[in-house]
Amino acid sequence: MKPEIKIATRQSFGEALKKLGDENENIVVLDADLSSATKTEIFAKAYPERFFDMGIAEQDMIGTAAGLATCGKIPFASSFAAFATGRVYDQIRASICYPNLNVKICGTHAGITVGEDGATHQMLEDISLMRGLPNMTVLCPSDDISTKWAVEEASKINGPVYIRLARAATPVIYEENKIFTFGKAVQFGDGTDATVFATGVEVAEALKAQEILKGYNIDIRVVDMLSIKPIDKDIIERCAMGTDRLISIEDHSIIGGLGSAIAEVLTERYPAKLKRMGMQDTFGQSGKAVDLMNFYKLNAEAIVKELKN
């Protein structure tokens, strides 16, 4: 981990999209008046003829992306996670997932780490909504490198993909040459005192906690669940067998999100207790991302506190 470099995954997403555009002329990008925030502007500047600003009309954006996909295009439709999923849930369900169309939905500004904009913009239910849809793949990368991988991987999947991205700059975790495998999580360390399953911005927090806990003689492993659907069932079962305690942590509601997905696997494969850290069935509020993570117990300190008990 190189905590000195911090990049927001939305920035990595914008750069990766442009690179995809260089390689494949079927890549088209749609945005709903947020291209400077979602970073699709990087693609828009390079390929203006393949970029469609749909205005503040997300439902139409999703439907248009579906139509483009029926003609062989690979549309990436992007907005803040709240408007790219919740606002257009039925459009995604009926016009994309049911016909299994090749549309990639990219929700930036997911979770409370959106910060100052407050609860309306802090999407805490998108994983829940998207993973419940048949045909949908859900990826939640944790840093710059894994985001670039996720964007490229999404373009290779012939079907709908949701990529969950964050506003806040977070540490770069992986080396440039890291090789990821679709549907597989990434394990850090092999401590047996506990497993912390984390996703998105929480992976860096879990890794920080792992370091701090060493000082208390508590040796944990951290698992980056960058693929929420399909989920890596084997690693969940293995960690349940091999560690004393299990924790999940996500910048998302504990209902329907990563914690729920892991609990489903545990129930079927290896029943074990799981502590679900995340938003506890509540909306967020305005504030600095760092303060909110502290208030809602979504930071390294909260994990440390939980595991010291």
Binding site: G55, Q59, D60, G63, A66, G67, C71, P75, D90, Q91
Partner: protein, 215 residues
Amino acid sequence: MEVNESLLKELSKKAINIRRNIIEMVYMASSGHPGGALSIVDILTILYFYEMKVDLSNSKDENRDRFVLSKGHASPALYATLAEKGFIKKEELRKFRSINSLLQGHPDMKKIPGVDMTTGSLGQGLSAANGMALAGKLDQKSYRVYCMLGDGEIEEGQIWEAAMSASHYKLDNLCVIVDNNNLQIDGEISKVMSPYPIDKKFEAFGFEVLRNRWS
């Protein structure tokens, strides 16, 4: 193709066959929306037997004209038309809305050759048609996209988002048809939630509007 007496006679015959099949399908299924299906038969007949370029032997031809039945509940009309055209076997029509049939309650593009877009949740088809028209422009293809809306359906806000986009992106390869039968489930559209004046609204959104009143 010139419009003459014998062509009109032939088209009328097809329209009668389509109507007969719609009634039979909905009767056999004891379920479905016969009204909204019957009201678009003449339009579908003209589209599929006069206007549109579609090829039975190559239903996925990338140069074909596209049709989006945004008012997806009128599926019996589309299925009967596609059967008349040869895309669907006539025997299949009797399985409409029954288990393991290709003919779902609302059109499924993955199951039926000749169906260009899956629809059913109202208000979404025009956006998809716009996407097809945009792709045609990007690829410099000459195909046209036809989209059929219900007059009740245009109460959905997404229709007007899409109308704005069609105009903004100058989609002159798009033809939108509003089936103005004046009925929706709860009654006359003018009483439930009036979208009138429909022509002026589309004109205001930048469309060239042709009015075709029932005689």
